[in-house]
């Protein structure tokens, strides 16, 4: 049983959502080490999709947006909501149905177009109406956007919706130049213009995206680099090799196993506990899965009891992940403070399996994306579960195809993670609610649906924490998911300083400088 208590004191300071303990800015060198200007070369772990905030979906695109496309709000290095293009935090009415946002004055987009309330309305309306907008769902509660005056907008909501601030601190709140939108329309992503420290120069598909320092940026005096180049290097070993040879300045998501060697080679490595999670999703619909786990909570509990999360962390991740049993990261304010996970207990697991009356061993097909780390994780889980009476067979499938199988419910158990969101609604709604697009487990529980919906509609932080706590208890009873760990991400730095690397695991280069 998952136990919890409230931590009201911890969350009092967070106006809407967030508290964190993780923040890792890079060290400052002495002045004579710094090189004036220069282009920082950053290796991303994948190629971003389109650089259009309305339709972009990849994490790496979020990394690139920080260079050129600021948002109404951002998170600081404690994951608290802070104004970016807004002048202050949003002001919500007593009934929770209107939100007033004051905007910063005297700001220009990178094409010289003035930033004002009209521009914000054009962006938000586009997010709400474009057929292919990925922001529609995130802004589902937003009914209309009204320009109050040059520097103020009012958002009208169909229902109270507390996660709105977090959404506006993500791509939904990235404001695009109305001039560029008018010129490029659907092709905005091919030559995007926003407010940001750097201005888009060009993109070489499959290779790199180049930015140069913006002449229009309001904080341009703080920007030391002449530009930033994002290169796409998918293999972590190659990213590490390029860091060691100083062919690149920054590499994200390095392998834990490379960290010691990089340290020894004089490469700075920052780390952050990522807000996403990894877990085992269990298909709970017996019409879709023939495994006895689909219909038996006791067997699902036995499976969890068979897994030693700490051993998994040690064997596969060299102790670098944060083992956990809930979707909410430890730095999140709404996470109940005293969560106690089900301890590894193979005897209890074996007893439950034997008491189930099923023919032993109990077959379970474990679907995994065909990636080396997932394969290792699956093999350790297989060994642990087989020890107590399960017969786990691993089914590695290429990532996109695995997602297809997951969506279709064509699996018994699926090793799959979630990249995480600043607000708990993004980590639970749709993933655990009835009919949710990402509810691969097929769980349908009216109590969970109600609690998650209610938590998004109340504005008081302690009330939200309590409701999420109740929802987590109920989810733990049903066990559609066995959460395993929160990842740790490593950022390597060579000949660069001043890089901000906060708990959202997105490196920012506004104040970065190259060093000799």
């Amino acid at each position: 049983m998952l136990r919890r208590t409230l931590n009201i004191g911890c969350i009092a300071a967070a106006s809407l959502m967030l508290v964190s303990c993780a923040s890792t800015p890079s060290a400052s060198p002495s002045a004579d080490e710094v090189v004036a200007g220069g282009i920082a070369v950053v290796a991303l772990s994948d190629e971003p999709d389109t650089l259009d905030p309305t339709v972009a979906n990849t994490f790496v695109a979020r990394v690139v947006f920080t260079a050129f496309c600021e948002k109404l709000y951002d998170s600081n290095d404690s994951l608290e909501l802070v104004p970016q293009l807004a002048a202050s935090l949003p002001v919500t009415s007593a009934d929770g149905l209107t939100v007033d946002i004051a905007l910063r004055e005297g700001i220009l987009f990178n094409d010289g177009t003035p930033f004002n309330a009209d521009a914000v309305k054009i962006t938000l309306d586009r997010n709400l109406t474009l057929d292919t907008s990925s922001r529609k769902k995130e802004l589902a509660a937003l009914q209309s956007v009204e320009v109050v005056d040059e520097n103020n907008i009012r958002l009208t909501l169909s229902r109270p919706f507390s996660p709105l601030g977090a959404q506006l601190a993500d791509r939904a709140g990235a404001i695009m130049s109305p001039t560029a939108l008018e010129t490029l329309g659907l092709d905005f992503g091919t030559d995007p213009v926003c407010v940001g420290p750097f201005d888009f120069t060009d993109r070489v598909p499959g290779s790199e995206i180049n930015f140069t320092k913006s002449d229009y940026y309001y904080d341009k005096d703080l920007v030391k680099l002449d530009g930033v180049t994002y290169k796409f290097i998918t293999d972590p070993n190659i990213r590490a090799a390029n860091l060691r040879s100083s062919d690149i300045n920054v590499a994200e998501r390095l392998n834990a196993s490379d960290v010691d060697q990089l340290d020894a080679d004089g490469v700075d490595v920052l780390d952050v506990s990522a807000i996403g999670y990894q877990g085992l999703t269990i298909n709970t619909d017996p019409t879709m899965s023939s495994s006895p786990l689909a219909s038996s909570v006791e067997l699902r509990k036995a499976f969890e009891l068979s897994i030693d999360r700490d051993a998994l962390n040690t064997v596969v991740f060299a102790g670098q992940t944060t083992p956990d049993c809930v979707p909410l990261p430890k730095q999140m304010a709404f996470r109940p403070d005293d969560i106690q996970c089900t301890d590894f207990d193979s005897d209890a697991a074996r007893a439950l399996v034997e008491a189930s009356g099923e023919t032993l061993p109990i077959p379970v097909e474990l679907l995994i994306p065909a990636r080396p780390t997932d394969q290792k994780t699956a093999e350790v889980i297989q060994q642990m579960a087989n020890d107590v009476g399960f017969d786990v067979t691993i089914k590695p499938v290429e990532f996109v195809s695995a997602l297809d199988l997951g969506r279709a419910g064509d699996f018994d158990m699926f090793l799959i993670g979630w990249s995480g969101r600043m607000d708990p609604d993004g980590d639970m709604n749709d993933l655990l609610t009835t009919g949710g697009t990402n509810n691969y487990s097929q769980m349908a529980d009216s109590e969970v649906d109600f609690l998650i919906s209610e938590a998004a509609s109340v504005t008081e932080t302690d009330a939200r924490q309590d409701l999420y706590g109740q929802a987590l208890d109920r989810i733990d009873e049903i066990k559609p998911l066995i959460y395993l760990y929160h990842d740790t991400w490593f950022l390597g730095l060579a000949d660069i300083t001043g890089v901000e690397y906060s708990a959202d695991a997105i490196p920012r280069f506004k104040t970065a400088e190259l060093t000799k």
Binding site: E47, D49, T50, L51, V55, N57, T58, D131, T132, S133, S134, K136, K137, E138, L186, D187, G189, T190, R203, V204, P205, G206, S207, E208, K231, F232, I233, T234, D235, N237, I238, A241, N242, R244, S245, D247, I248, V397, E398, F399, V400, S401, L403, D404, R407, W418, S419, D430, T437, N438
Partner: protein
């Protein structure tokens, strides 16, 4: 010759169907990939409509072929950049890499093969055979990592990765191409070495060489005659190796972060980027067909007995 050209056109037409259908047989919906983690069904439907994925496959095919014949391969689903533009950007890079790899392969492979055959049973022969065995066995990925470790990290004489266009900076372009070309060319040189050696040994023991030798022809002249006749086999193998070279380029370009054709194909597969994948594979197939046509023509030059015209083979 005309017959060969017609065969090539039919091959290309059939290949376009196979490529189009094959790409769509890949599991994984491109609209779902584009819609991302949150995958709103309404957004997925809008994406399908935007890229014509909701139409029957035969309509999609004829639309595609009609546009492709006019040089329009559609736009990349990932970033909406025209596919033709991407292909024109990438193709010269891989052609340069392949050209340099062939140069490496031919220089090393041919030389080692000739030495090995002429000095059969000597230390040079054993060394060349060992090289051939290693060249064939060592995967490009491992060799590439070793090369980066040794030349870029330890010696710091060559860059670990990246590409600079030849038109931008010829010197830097070649500097950055040395390691990838060596890695890609090593496998090819091993194949060529073995083929050259086998073909040359066969020719050197042929009746006409023995006759020439009995008439007092010098060893070098003997080898020259045998070599010319051996080259038919070598050129055939070189043509056939083009496919392997493109396959090798996929890995090599990944390791050395070269934005070439191979990397384009693998990225397009991962993203289920149908327009890019179709365009790239079709261009690769066209290249393969053209090279084989060129090989057939080369036969006529290297061995006049092979008549391509008039069906006199």
């Amino acid at each position: 010759m005309l017959q060969r050209v017609i065969t090539s056109i039919v091959t290309l037409f059939l290949a376009s169907i196979v490529v189009f259908v094959g790409v769509r047989l890949l599991p994984g919906d491109p609209a779902l990939v584009l819609a991302g983690e949150t995958a709103d069904p309404a957004v997925v439907a809008a994406i399908r409509e935007q890229f014509g994925l909701n139409q029957p496959i035969w309509i999609q095919y004829f639309n595609y072929v009609g546009q492709a014949l006019q040089g329009n391969f559609g736009v990349s689903t990932r970033d909406r950049i025209p596919v033709a533009e991407i292909l024109l950007q990438r193709l010269p890079i891989t052609l340069e890499l392949a050209g340099l790899a062939i140069l490496v392969g031919v220089l090393i492979g041919l030389t080692a093969g000739i030495v090995s055959a002429v000095k059969r049973g000597s230390f040079a022969d054993y060394a060349a055979n060992a090289f051939g065995l290693i060249g064939l066995s060592v995967p490009h990925f491992w060799l590439g990592m070793l090369a980066i470790l040794f030349f870029a990290i330890n010696l710091q004489v060559l860059p670990a990765s990246g590409y600079v266009a030849f038109t931008e900076d010829p010197g830097e372009n070649l500097r950055r191409m040395i390691l990838p070309a060596l890695v890609l060319g090593t496998g090819l040189s091993a194949v060529l070495m073995r083929q050259t050696r086998a073909a040359l040994l066969g020719q050197l023991s042929a009746d006409y060489v023995r006759t020439a030798r009995s008439k007092g022809v010098s060893r070098s002249r003997e080898v020259k005659h045998a070599l010319r006749n051996s080259l038919t086999t070598v050129v055939t193998v070189l043509g056939l190796q083009l496919g392997a070279l493109i396959g090798g380029a996929i890995i090599t370009e990944q390791i050395f972060v070269i934005p070439g054709f191979g990397k384009l194909i693998i990225d397009a597969v991962s993203a289920r980027n149908y327009p890019v994948l179709q365009g790239a594979v079709l261009v690769a197939v066209t290249g393969y067909v053209l090279v084989n046509l060129a090989v057939d023509i080369a036969y006529a030059y290297l061995n006049p007995r092979m008549r391509l015209a008039g069906g006199a083979r």
